[in-house]
């Protein structure tokens, strides 16, 4: 199988202080959905930012189709890798369509403005997520769930092969969490490779075929959700007791227990 993203012996620290993480090795193939779990502050978001070049590794390599991501120019990298940040704060009240259009930035030169084709692509990505009706709404005035979908639409307009999502479900209500995971599933079926971080081990069962647990600055465990999201591993990573239940044939669930 062809690896789209390969992370080799990655090591990172801010300004040469204590390492945030080291010995990180991950590989992603086409259509994979990798869910990175782990307690606060283990460097999940940092790792994600390294993958699209926002931060630079101290040592090790991140390869996109066997090419070092830091050697690829920024525009080409943005054509290949889309990124949705964790917390999104915007100062300006752009319309939803204008926000989605920004996904076309890597495809346009420094001085050009989006043309008919770009508008069509933007509208199609809104349509594919069933939110075309939001097009002329003010981005600062829609709900958190709608905003998440708009950002996904923007990343679709970017037409990347790899999608990085930093805690895509963190600020959403119960229903929108599951709907967002469903959108991610559909995107991976259409051929996108997805890397996301999450605070919900249970979501790994719902959306991903690979799970990595980051703990104390390295990958503690990696594999299929069934093999990785176990009572033992959850205890090790988060220090709490969980029960893994089999709800039916194709749905396992990870339920936290009360702290005694």
């Amino acid at each position: 199988m062809s690896e789209i993203i390969k992370i080799k012996d990655a090591e990172f620290s801010y300004n040469n202080q204590k390492n945030i993480f080291q010995d990180v090795n991950i590989s992603i193939e086409k259509g994979d959905v990798l869910c990175i779990l782990g307690p606060n502050g283990t460097g999940k978001s940092t790792l994600v930012k390294c993958i699209n070049g926002l931060l630079k590794l101290k040592s090790g390599e991140i390869l996109l189709n066997e090419k070092d991501v830091y050697s690829i120019n920024k525009t080409d990298l943005a054509k290949a890798i889309g990124y949705i940040p964790q917390l999104h704060h915007t100062t300006f009240a752009f319309s939803v369509l204008d926000v989605v259009l920004m996904g076309r930035a890597p495809h346009l030169s420094l001085t050009s403005v989006p043309g008919k084709k770009d508008y069509k692509i933007a509208e199609e990505s809104l349509k594919s997520l069933d939110i075309l009706h939001l097009r002329d709404k003010n981005y600062t005035q829609i709900s958190g769930g709608e905003r998440q979908l708009v950002l996904i639409a923007r990343v679709l307009a970017q037409q990347p092969h790899v999608l990085l999502l930093d805690e895509p479900t963190s600020h959403l209500d119960f229903g929108n969490q599951i709907r967002t995971l469903d959108v991610i599933n559909k995107l991976s079926k259409s051929g996108l490779s997805v890397i996301m971080t999450s605070h919900f081990p249970d979501h790994a069962f719902l959306s991903s075929n690979k799970v990595a647990i980051m703990n104390q600055g390295t990958i503690m465990e990696m594999g299929t959700p069934e093999n990785v999201v176990t009572e033992n591993n959850m205890k090790k990573a988060y220090g709490i007791n969980v029960k893994i239940l089999e709800v039916d044939e194709n749905r396992k669930a990870c339920i936290p227990m009360r702290i005694k």
């Binding site: 926002l54 990124y83 940040p85 319309s95 001085t111 403005v113 002329d136």
Partner: protein, 354 residues
């Protein structure tokens, strides 16, 4: 499947309606300064009739015989035209710089002099006045020290760690304060009977000494600034979403920010060098325009040019005609602009997120 490509009726109607609305708003914004441009020739101490103005301007392009007095030519061509053009250029330049800076720094409180350009220019002008330079020398000094101040701010901020935008703004405040102190020092040592009033008057802002040669001197930096900012209008949208996001969308944020800073600094330094310090307009006109056309820089930047030109020309017309003695421009922009801005704020403002 077939339905997917044909948009439904109401949607297109709504879209058409929106486009018509946008076009008419834009046309009005552009029409206003044009009308005022011609109207301003008629205003002034010496009465000139509309026909005289048309003849005085037209006769230069079309060889017709006129019996217009040379005084009218002088008033139209040498006195009023440079001043009108200067007011429009300065108003437009300060406004587009303000809008571009607010977008680039993602901050509603930013004005064109946030990186110290006006303070630097004020110091340059004061120094030139103290030494006793000609108006031309004062203009050159003001322009150069405006650039020097921003250059210092930029290189200072590069040596700081952390959030570059914040460091740049804080660096600008420090450099601005430094130059303001130097300016005070010059005021303190200058002759209170001759030099001091001249410095104070310069710092309050005025277009009374503008002539065509001062405009010719700034035309190159002005054209460079306007052209590049307008070309980058859509990129500014992406940049205004924040650095991480813009970079994830393939934008070289550092490079783009430097280009914007250079353009805005050229525009502001050039403006200030002929007008003195005119605050307020670069902060407020972008906000007013955002209320009218929204935050999309593709419409916002042209709108700030039109409205900025209109507003400063309007205020300058009042400056030179409303009172027996001329009021400094910088004072009136605030006296007229501030209440109007408060009125608009009162009506509710959705241009920024809450």
């Amino acid at each position: 499947m077939g339905n997917e490509t044909t948009p439904t009726g109401p949607e297109t109607a709504e879209q058409d309606h929106k486009t018509i609305k946008e076009t008419s708003v834009m046309s009005i914004l552009i029409l206003f300064p044009i009308i005022l441009f011609f109207g301003s020739f008629l205003i002034g101490r010496y009465p000139v009739s509309p026909l005289d103005v048309v003849i005085a301007i037209g006769s230069v392009f079309i060889p017709i015989k006129t019996n217009l007095s040379p005084a009218i030519y002088t008033i139209v061509w040498d006195i009023r035209l440079p001043r009108i053009v200067a007011a429009m250029i300065v108003g437009a330049a300060l406004s587009i710089s303000g809008a571009s800076f607010q977008g680039t720094f993602q901050n509603p409180l930013v004005s064109p002099d946030i990186l110290g350009v006006s303070m630097g220019a004020g110091f340059g002008a004061s120094l030139a006045i103290l030494i006793g330079f000609s108006p031309f020398g004062i203009q050159v000094f003001a322009f150069s020290f405006g650039l020097v101040a921003v250059g210092l701010t930029y290189f200072l901020s590069r040596n700081f760690r952390g959030n570059t935008i914040l460091m740049m703004v804080l660096g600008g405040i420090a450099i601005g304060a430094l130059f303001a102190a130097f300016t005070s020092l010059i005021k303190y040592v200058s002759d209170p009977n001759s030099k001091l009033p001249q410095i104070v008057y310069w710092l309050m802002g005025s277009l009374s000494s503008v002539d065509s040669s001062s405009i010719l001197m700034i035309i190159v930096p002005i054209i460079i600034g306007f052209t590049i900012l307008l070309l980058l209008r859509w990129r500014l949208n992406v940049l205004s979403m924040g650095d991480d996001e813009a970079r994830a969308l393939g934008v070289d944020t550092n490079k783009l920010r430097i280009i914007v800073i250079v353009c805005c600094t050229l525009l502001t330094a050039a403006s200030v060098s002929i007008s003195g310090i005119i605050g307020w307009i670069g902060l407020v006109i972008p906000h007013v325009c955002r209320m009218i056309v929204g935050p999309d820089h593709r419409r916002l930047l042209p709108a700030t040019i039109a409205l900025g030109a209109f507003f400063l020309l309007f205020v300058d017309d009042i400056c030179r005609t409303a009172f027996p003695i001329e009021i400094p421009l910088g004072i009136l922009t605030a006296i007229i602009g501030a209440p109007f801005f408060v009125y608009l704020l009162n009506r509710g403002y959705g241009g920024w997120s809450s």
